[in-house]
């Protein structure tokens, strides 16, 4: 295969800036780009909360009414949701998206206790009927949301599609969820920037990677400051309140972006009670605390002038 030049394809999907960087002939890069984009759009439509014909809407509209039989892909994603729920002792709950109704991070107003006590009874994956084929949300008003991990899953799938079409060097970046198809053609690694949690668009560290995936979760994605206290989008499904993560961000490296993203999110969700949890999981990681101090097992490369991959630009 001709190694070819580096081709970049930028697009917006799943509410994020995305890009494909592929080495290969122009023809190949264009073909693969089209296949990848079609795949992303398909997944976006399938699990969109905003489309009435999506799988998510079909399940949510049947809440309290009847079970819904789901396709194979959705079934395995729901099994994954179950695994996330088990491993997080209930903190990662795909039914907690409903708290969005009370939390408006653009309002700079905290939700009232009354609002939260109305919503928390509608949360609870343990009450959802799921037998591997049919899903049933027992109460009207309950909602399911795949948004917590479908983007990472998508990054893995797109990388596999690229590989299958013969791309051996390149990367997939879906809003900072990065899956490396392979190193640069000369074998040199990619430089992946970790966002500074307090300076949007600026990296706080850079890591070199030749393979695998990296994902970062942070308290900076959606947040508001009320009376000097930072309230992030990381919500406790039991109380409905914003939980105060011990770290401003957590980055994890794994073979698959889905795994990396799950661990970085779990690390923040668990951090108030188990700040050391990530250290025992066997995956390379980087933690940034609110004072912007770095810790973890990832080798980082100080500060630099040029923005690296993974930075919103």
């Amino acid at each position: 295969m001709s190694q070819g030049r580096l081709h970049s394809l930028r697009f917006k999907a799943m509410g994020s800036r995305c890009e494909l960087q592929l080495y290969g002939s122009e023809h190949l890069a264009r073909t693969v780009g089209e296949v990848a984009l079609a795949y992303v759009r398909r997944l976006e439509r399938k699990y969109s909360r905003y489309r009435g014909d999506s799988v998510t809407s079909t399940i949510n509209l049947a809440a309290g009414l009847h079970p819904v039989t789901v396709d194979h892909e959705t079934a395995r994603l729901l099994d994954y949701a179950d695994a996330l729920y088990q491993q997080s002792s209930g903190l990662f709950d795909v039914t907690s998206g409903i708290l969005r109704r009370a939390w408006d991070f653009t309002s700079n107003k905290l939700p009232s206790e009354v609002e939260l006590t109305h919503l928390t009874p509608l949360i609870g994956w343990h009450r959802v009927g799921w037998d591997g084929h049919q899903i049933f949300l027992p109460d009207p008003g309950m909602e399911l949301d795949f948004g917590g991990y479908v983007k990472e899953y998508c990054a893995d799938q797109v990388a596999d599609l690229c590989r299958q079409h013969g791309i051996t060097h390149g990367l997939v970046n879906l809003g900072g969820d990065i899956h490396l198809i392979g190193p640069h053609p000369d074998g040199s690694p990619w430089l992946v920037g970790i966002q500074n949690p307090r300076s949007p668009g600026k990296p706080i560290a850079k890591v070199t990677m030749t393979e695998g995936a990296i994902a970062t979760s942070g308290d900076y994605e959606r947040y508001m400051v009320v009376d000097g206290i930072r309230y992030s989008h990381l919500l406790n499904p039991f109380t409905g309140r914003s939980l105060q993560p011990t770290f401003a961000s957590a980055s994890v490296i794994a073979a698959r972006c889905l795994i990396a993203g799950s661990f970085s999110t779990l690390a923040l969700l668990k951090s108030p009670l188990e700040p050391q949890w990530l250290t025992d999981q066997g995956l390379p990681y980087l933690l940034v605390d609110p004072a912007l101090r770095l810790s973890g097992t990832l080798q980082t490369h100080g500060t630099y002038a040029t923005p690296a991959i993974g930075q919103p630009s």
């Binding site: 990388a159 590989r163 299958q164 051996t168 073979a255």
Partner: protein, 71 residues
């Protein structure tokens, strides 16, 4: 001949059971064109036709094809 065949099949079965699970993201080498069973079908067709016209052993694989071209 039968014993040979059985031995071959036996060896293959043993080697299959020694296979590891290869995840889709580990398939980038297997997906390369030079790792295909036949990377150049057109060239292989020509060579097998020539060898077939000089040797006794023909083979059945798949597809069709015929003609003599003998001399």
């Amino acid at each position: 001949m039968r014993i040979k065949t059985l031995t071959l099949l036996g060896v293959l079965l043993v080697s299959v059971s020694a296979c590891t699970q290869v995840q889709p993201w580990e398939r980038n080498y297997l997906a390369r064109p030079e790792m295909a069973l036949e990377p150049d079908p057109m060239g292989a067709l020509l060579r097998s036709h020539i060898h077939h016209s000089k040797e006794a052993a023909s083979s059945v694989s798949s597809g069709s094809g015929g003609g003599c071209g003998c001399n």
